[in-house]
């Protein structure tokens, strides 16, 4: 790779398309995967796809707000991961399964 290629800006659309693609992957994974942990990871994927578009626009407009928002999202995602994983462990203990199709009742 030469330096010129490295110096060249990646066009905005590429970032956005990547973000959309990641988000769609997340949605599809969320919809079709059976394992609760995979579903959970799909959610993380969607969050990060959104983060990517935040950062993209922040860079494009030279505004710092978008970057700050990303930190918020990451923070919430971390908290969510903690709570979500705790719930998953509790569910697994109670039902000995992580298949979402079989977890369809509120009561045990």
């Amino acid at each position: 790779m030469n330096a010129a290629l490295l110096q060249q800006d990646v066009p905005l659309n590429w970032y956005l398309l990547l973000s959309a693609a990641l988000f769609c992957l997340g949605v599809i994974g969320f919809l079709i995967k059976r394992n609760l942990i995979t579903v959970f990871m799909s959610i993380e994927l969607m969050l990060n796809a959104v983060n990517l578009s935040f950062v993209t626009f922040a860079h494009q407009w030279g505004a710092v707000k978008g970057q700050i928002f990303v930190f918020f999202v990451m923070m919430v995602a971390a908290a969510e991961a903690a709570v979500g994983l705790a719930i998953i462990i509790a569910v697994f203990r109670a039902r000995a399964t992580l298949a979402v199709d079989r977890i369809d009742l509120m009561k045990l």
Binding site: V27, F30, V39, V100, D101, D104, M106
Partner: protein, 647 residues
Amino acid sequence: MNAHLWLIPLLPFAGFLLNGILGSRLPKALVSTIALLFPLASFAVVAVAAVNFFTGALPHIPYVETCPLGWINAGTLHIGFSFALDQLSLVMLLVVTGIGFLIHVYSVGYMAHEEGYWRFFAYLNLFLFFMTVLVLSANALLMFVGWEGVGLASYLLIGFYFKKTSAADAGKKAFIVNRIGDFGFLIAMFLLLANFGTLTFSEISNQLASNPGWTGGVITVIALCLMLGADGKSAQIPLYIWLPDAMEGPTPVSALIHAATMVTAGVYMVARTHVLFDHSPFALGVVAVIGAATAIFAATIGLVQNDIKRVLAYSTVSQLGYMFLGCGVAAYSASIFHLMTHAFFKALLFLAAGSVIHGMGGEQDLRKMGGLRKKMPVTFIVTTIGVLAIAGIFPFAGFFSKDAILYAAFAQGTTAGIVLWFVGLVTALLTSFYMFRLWYLTFMGEPRSPEVHPHESPWSMLGPLVILAALSVCGGWIGIERFSEFLTPAVGFHPLAGGSERLELILSIVAVLVALEGWAIADMFYRRKPQRPAQYAAAVPGGYNLLLNKYFVDEIYAAIIVRPLLAISKVVLGWVVDAGILGGAAWLLGGIALFAGAILQRWQSGNLRSYAAWLAAGAAAVLLFVLVQWTAVWPNTLNFILNVAGH
């Protein structure tokens, strides 16, 4: 000079609130004090107003007080809480609060051992509140409030012993029969509003005074509707049937509400709206005929009744008939005069009957009484006075007032007037007979229930009796001339066509002779030849049974009105409307909800991925909605379609 008329009703109302809310927790002595103090204060206000009235301290007559807050203001219609004091309402107020207070005093003794003591006095005070509102009101609507209110108080007090089915039923009967009359009153008010644009009595009078030629037609309809209302409240044919049953209430209630005050509200109302009746000779004629018919009809039933209170009840119906008869011949002042004296002696007779019942340990059957004159001397003396007064024997109160009505009927100078007079005279004979029958059976002869040991009542009961007895003796001495002169500004002057002093004297003598004849017959039947009544009853069993069963009117009403009504209610209202339409609608709504729920519940499967799918689909739909400019797309599409269609 301010008379503070508003205090007259509100004082008893305060008593009602105090006893009604706190009474169950207060000691009996305090309940009695509250119950007596407020009516007494109310009577004192009336007395002060009366003094001001007679000394001319009031600025003008009628003296009107209006609540500044107003009540109903809609367009050109203005109805306020207005109280008016004139000659007519003053007389009524004195009767209502005066006798009302006396009966409160009596009740303290009579009800001393009853359960629900405080409840009784709360209701009694409530009655005084509504009755004074009724009497004082300056417009028909406020009068209607009082009218309904006394009906409520009457219902509550008739059903005071609500654990007794007959008492609860009697209360309902009174209320329902009165509703029929109230319907007439309501229609009359609507017609008044439509034709006069006002419900204020004085304005109606003024409008009629400026149109002396306006007679008959709608005025007759209004007057007849008012009369229907009065028929209900004052127990006239055809709505009298509730009053005898109302005797299920405690005796002081019978005295206060169902003899002295409330039942005279109809007569008062006719006198209050007399201008309407004056403009409708037909309605007046109907009032007179109904009054006379009721008087003689009820008197004949009273001849054979064996319950002491029922005799008095039919007697009340009959005397109210006299008052209607008086109104019907435009002798309003004579009617009000009789209303007043009747309040004295009928309250007296009822309270005395209560004293007898009290002394006999609850016995009401005349056939089981007898010989009480020695055991209950005071009650005996006051009852004697009451009987002489109602029989119309000179110089007791009833003589003057009854005579005034009979004279007014005769002096109409028409055949109809003489017929009415004759019916009244026969009624006087019957009245005298059944009252002396009651007197003989109760006090004379030997005791027929030796196992009962009657005792004289306490002085809290005898005190009011003595005062009422005094009033029953001299209540008529004022004389109809002075009384009617006093009332003329309120009820108008109606000259008698064929009257003269000589005629009046002759008629009086005839009336007294007839009353004495009634006494003589009763004396023969129940003292000298006590086997006679049974022989007569055996001789005409049909007639006797007809009277004993009150002409089977209750049964006839049951057959032609009550039972068909119940049947219609059951089939049409019960099955078709209630079970069919209303129940069906409820079932239909419930069914729709169930059906919709059965479909919608599939959405809520609990399956996480289906929720996620719906979420994603929803998000996609929202995106689509936001991103596509529908406002731009639709008209273009529409134009495109139109263009394609056009070409």
